[in-house]
Symmetry: D2
Subunit: 469 residues, 4 copies
Amino acid sequence: MWEDDEIREECGVFGVYGDPAAARLTFLGLYALQHRGQESSGMAVSDGHHIASHRAMGLVSEAYDHGERVNDLEGHMAIGHNRYSTTGTSNVDNAQPFMVNFKRGQLATAHNGNFTNTGALHLSMEETGSIFRTSSDSEIVLHLIARSNESDLPGMIADALRQVEGAYSIVFLSDSQLIGVRDPRGFRPLCLGRLGDAHVLASETCAFDIMKAEYVREVKPGEMVVIDEEGIRSFFPFEEAEPAACIFEYIYFARPDSKVFGENSDKFRRRFGRQLAEEHPVDADIVIAVPDSATTAALGYSEQSGIRFEIGLIRNHYVGRSFIDPDQSMREFTVRLKYNPVQGVLRNRRVVLVDDSIVRGTTLNQLVRLIRGAGASEVHVRISSPPIRHPCYYGIDMQSRGELIASQTRVEEIRQYLGADSLGYLSIEGMVKTGKEYGKPGVGYCTACFSGDYPVIPEDSLNKLMLES
Amino acid sequence: MWEDDEIREECGVFGVYGDPAAARLTFLGLYALQHRGQESSGMAVSDGHHIASHRAMGLVSEAYDHGERVNDLEGHMAIGHNRYSTTGTSNVDNAQPFMVNFKRGQLATAHNGNFTNTGALHLSMEETGSIFRTSSDSEIVLHLIARSNESDLPGMIADALRQVEGAYSIVFLSDSQLIGVRDPRGFRPLCLGRLGDAHVLASETCAFDIMKAEYVREVKPGEMVVIDEEGIRSFFPFEEAEPAACIFEYIYFARPDSKVFGENSDKFRRRFGRQLAEEHPVDADIVIAVPDSATTAALGYSEQSGIRFEIGLIRNHYVGRSFIDPDQSMREFTVRLKYNPVQGVLRNRRVVLVDDSIVRGTTLNQLVRLIRGAGASEVHVRISSPPIRHPCYYGIDMQSRGELIASQTRVEEIRQYLGADSLGYLSIEGMVKTGKEYGKPGVGYCTACFSGDYPVIPEDSLNKLMLES
Amino acid sequence: MWEDDEIREECGVFGVYGDPAAARLTFLGLYALQHRGQESSGMAVSDGHHIASHRAMGLVSEAYDHGERVNDLEGHMAIGHNRYSTTGTSNVDNAQPFMVNFKRGQLATAHNGNFTNTGALHLSMEETGSIFRTSSDSEIVLHLIARSNESDLPGMIADALRQVEGAYSIVFLSDSQLIGVRDPRGFRPLCLGRLGDAHVLASETCAFDIMKAEYVREVKPGEMVVIDEEGIRSFFPFEEAEPAACIFEYIYFARPDSKVFGENSDKFRRRFGRQLAEEHPVDADIVIAVPDSATTAALGYSEQSGIRFEIGLIRNHYVGRSFIDPDQSMREFTVRLKYNPVQGVLRNRRVVLVDDSIVRGTTLNQLVRLIRGAGASEVHVRISSPPIRHPCYYGIDMQSRGELIASQTRVEEIRQYLGADSLGYLSIEGMVKTGKEYGKPGVGYCTACFSGDYPVIPEDSLNKLMLES
Amino acid sequence: MWEDDEIREECGVFGVYGDPAAARLTFLGLYALQHRGQESSGMAVSDGHHIASHRAMGLVSEAYDHGERVNDLEGHMAIGHNRYSTTGTSNVDNAQPFMVNFKRGQLATAHNGNFTNTGALHLSMEETGSIFRTSSDSEIVLHLIARSNESDLPGMIADALRQVEGAYSIVFLSDSQLIGVRDPRGFRPLCLGRLGDAHVLASETCAFDIMKAEYVREVKPGEMVVIDEEGIRSFFPFEEAEPAACIFEYIYFARPDSKVFGENSDKFRRRFGRQLAEEHPVDADIVIAVPDSATTAALGYSEQSGIRFEIGLIRNHYVGRSFIDPDQSMREFTVRLKYNPVQGVLRNRRVVLVDDSIVRGTTLNQLVRLIRGAGASEVHVRISSPPIRHPCYYGIDMQSRGELIASQTRVEEIRQYLGADSLGYLSIEGMVKTGKEYGKPGVGYCTACFSGDYPVIPEDSLNKLMLES
């Protein structure tokens, strides 16, 4: 479980070409991708001549005034973006799509991921006279594009992206073209779909489902798709690299009903739960999940173990994100605002509590106490992913290493901190085996946050943490 | 399932006496009772001399500016109210607590329920010179109190309530007393708790849990509890009547982790699900629920039937309440905004879809299509309550009879409308038997909306539907 | 000059009968009457069957969302009200029109003035079972009307108003009648106009001018006009009394382009200025006004004295009403935020500074320093009204007597406090003489705040100050 | 008079170095400069290490939440900007200060004026790889600075500004320096002041008065002042040019109590009025002004002509800027919402109506009718500036030539359109003579909008109109 105070950077992108309701479809797509970014939302829409845009803070429904703002944005092609923020100083200047004028006219871009060599690029571009309004990766890419001597936009974009390293699934909108690119290792997902004659791009297929678009395939690692009035073309402008799909998409990020990397994330969550039950069986009465993200894994654990699945925690969906902090004496109420234990289910039961991951463990510590307080006789914590021990440089804002409980603490100590009767994590081997067995053939996974085995060495890891996706 | 467009009137009340953080506790209590009323929220707080109040439209967190407004309300005793609206013309004038000055000073009241003889009372009071600012039941009660010749406030309140009929769980706050009353039949719940030296009252015990208050007992049907500096006293000022607890509290209203009428609602939901499986077995592969309200019933169905429970529908919790209506061509997207089918779970499966109730059936009709669209081979709808055939006059705003699909349509026709392969409702007998078997001894249930068997004949049923709780 | 921190209670009322754009006309009328009340605005509109209303805090343009809210209010008859608040705890519950249901249906009322015997009425009505939601005079009147046994609404209203004493210009709207009444002494103004076939009522004629309505006459002291589908009828239901028009309307309240009490207020302001010059001549270079309210009096002073009129102070019209208080070290900037001295005009000049009145004198003290700081060699303060020594019980919220600088301080001491070279007030005799000479024949004036000579003895003066107009 | 629908681009800038309350002083300064820009406001504040900024739409008091936002901005040096918009698509992206990172760290800038050669600069910079987020002149300057090879910031700024032409009074803030520059012709004003040990810069001296800062002198045409911990230094990095102060600052823009170009604008307004009376005498009873901007000129006309000055029009200061357009049938009310004629003053009088300028003449046409409607027997319009016949390319957004009534219409035709009995404009010669006679020695004026005599030929006049100040 990702606690509220451990918010991570992860974004959602969308694109559509060829539908007169492009803005409205983008609104629906972003709405479906809400879980990938809740700080701000924006879209840029072109009518073939001019790009208009709207960006605002807040959830998708708020950012577009419950849909009203969409009506002003006319055109048949669009890109959109939901953003998750890492810092308290978030403001609308950092909202995407980022839009500029350059020598070939207007260009908008929206980006999911993180570059690992922007520090050096940034310095060298400033030295030669560039100015920057944000610290965003997107702005750096736009500078590189503007400086390219290639003759057409796809060429300029390829030229620019060949100079950056790291993780990106990125969409571009010019007045007449929609372009989507995925980095050579394919860290982050990007899917291609079709809605009548229109082409759509999205981080996850749930954005297709909401508009009844058909899933075609994923954009491949290292692929650039160019969509314009001549149709859709595919290029592979980068050197080939070892695939490294972010396995956390399957563990937590992607919506359970979404396909990413060619497969349903729901299936993996269940399989991780089954594998977890095999690796860490326990004699217990019921299996419950930390809702909603761990529910499928808990069902898998239940199936494999034969222990009954129950709804032992109710999540309060009215919790506002900007809830005023209770004062010191009320601190203990915090977790109660969000989760309600069901006494009738928990009393005198030996409980397996399944969660998807642990970052700092503070909320899980409180949940274990809450469950015991509701009468559970034993609480066995099971985590459907391995211990997170290393920071991510590819677009997920985990805490710095010092804040990852598993980076410096052994499992037994974590168990003691949580106050659990037992604690079991999915093994890296079990996770990778499951990924290989049920994933699309040929997909390789990035396990850096668990294993420390980084596919791309970041130029400056501290610096990276300051930059935004 | 209650569809969004079939919003019902149902309210939540709270009271506390004897804690210097009375306003803050009321805020927490109302927050926990959010599911009972989302249109407006208000509280009145007394410091022993003066009552201050705040009422506003919106969710609890919004209504109090995320808690900030609470700081201005000083005192050790308070009442609060969340309101659900029936009409589009809702405004803050109708928000509760309702507060007035009368011959004994200030008096505030908050009310859950509905009176059935207010039309006549209203007319007769107007004839003798009363003026009314709202059509609220609460205002009528306050007029009756003000006209009473009894010598103390509890006596005046008893005098007033003896003149009204119907359903009420109601709290009053004077400058120095907190008073809670439940109607003689006990239609609506009201619980009594203790937090250190303070006494608390709430519609459901989830309001106690959030503040770690201890559940003491329910306020009994016909009981008045008076709490002041002399402690807590109990009176039974009304003629005894047959108990008639609203069984819909167990079917849908109460939060699963709450006690109402002395028992956990979660337990009933599961038992209704088991009973439903006994009454309407079917050969199928998986059981899924319409989330979140029908999940526990679906688990019960799964247990009893041995058919595996699965998460087949994901509910989108970001759906704003004031979402702008998609235009005609987008109408089909509506249900997709709220529910996402999990293809990996549903494809080629024979599905039992459990819901808690059907009012008009429009959303369920769309859900069945959505589930089939995700590849389900069969969809068997099971409803964990009997067909709703009659309007409620005791505080639930079901549609007028013409809009209740079951009031004029046989089950087979409803099945056809829903497009389901089969449809089974829990029987009235099965529901009542379950209620008797698992409920607190001595509790009787109102089943009027299913059976038409009204415990109190409304003076004017049409008129009733116009009045607000 | 009335300083910002000495806000007074004074309201504006409007009514129209017989125009399908009644709501829009009321909006325009209230807009023109904005200066009479800036805290809240409201209107009630009847289509002959049903009264709908809207009330909100803020300026007229804000209160109706820049006019948008007006479109929902359909009907051919309406009343409206702008309110000035006396207290910090102002809220929308106190906004008018006040609307209730009583035995004859709906009734709305809007009121300018203050009753002087409401304390006793209030108590006696509570004793017989009435409840009150506000401390407003209007609510008391509505109770009296509801208790009347007269057979028609005009009779009931007359019956009610015969029981109250004090100052009122009040309008009522039932589903089918517009009724306007002025108290027997005619403290506050009320004008009657005509717009095509429609009849209009307003506190001042500027509300007629904005809609090109024709001024017909003032509603007379003690007159009730009843306007309905049978036309307009006039009644005099009260005992005759000595006329006592509030001369402060001419000194400060009424807009200079308005007629009140049958004459242009602008004319009086100029005449007061001339009289002031006669009574308090001085050898000086220029005459300047505290803008905008004292400008006409300053022109009068200039004409009579022959001393040149100049614009020596510029008023900053962007000052928000809710400006956050500068901290202690910035206190000295306060008056600079509002008034800017014109150095080129003031330097080395002997200045006559004309203001319309002094309440506490704090702002005038700062202005004198500001003018000296801009280089004026002498500052002679001239006030176009007599010293205010007594509180008003008829609808103007002057400070309690202790806060009126003139109630306890001699003119010479006030001069010293202001730091002026000389100080001259208009004499009561000069003011009344001017009023008689230029006013409509037969109008008598209330001079109570200057002379202490109260036309109606307030039942309880302290109590009165707590009640709102 | 500038009508509301003829809004012009004109901005206000402010800067302060050396006061720990820099943000608060900037807030006060911008507040005093509110009349120069009402669309948006922003400030950037440095604590010597880091620049923080806040920009928002709306009036100064709104943009900073009535001052609250100022508290977060810590530092001892700051710049601020109020912006007037030309287009409906105004948004916060265009609000200033504009802030970027470049090779020397952070840099913020705020600008009043307009460049005349940005089209070519823009194109050439894009060709060499620059990207632009806005069409603002400020962004172009920042690009030029970032590309400069000079060794220090003042040198880089001088280098950049040597490449642009046109009108600018511009301030820059780095982490450690405050720099102010005025273009070589000095089109727009910029004043230097002192507040204790701190230095202040502002478009007009009214920003100094509000904080009791002392006026030191104007920044000279072509001067750059650099303020940092070493004190204040002055440079003249540009080739000398003929001075060309915008005489419209004296006619209309500058606040009457402000000094610009070294002299009080009030003095000029009065002198223009006297000159106007000499050039266009008329036999009349009273002189009135279109308030508030023409009042001083009207006083001058009155003095010179001996005709009595009167307040004949009252301006309604409650008019919201975003007032909803009355529908067609209400169009005639528009001017009545803003101006109220004083009948007692106007009836049967021969009126001289003084205004400061005419752009399209639509409002003046309505005002003449309003004044006649109030009973004036004659209306003689006198304009205290010459006919505006040519567009301005130096920062004032007059209409395109086709919309300037005087560009294509003779005075007699304008008189007929206005419905005036006579019409007289101040002559160019009279205006310039007055400017020379009363202005600071050595100041030359730009009269291009009257004479067509442009000091700097715009590279592309049409293009210019698209760019923003």
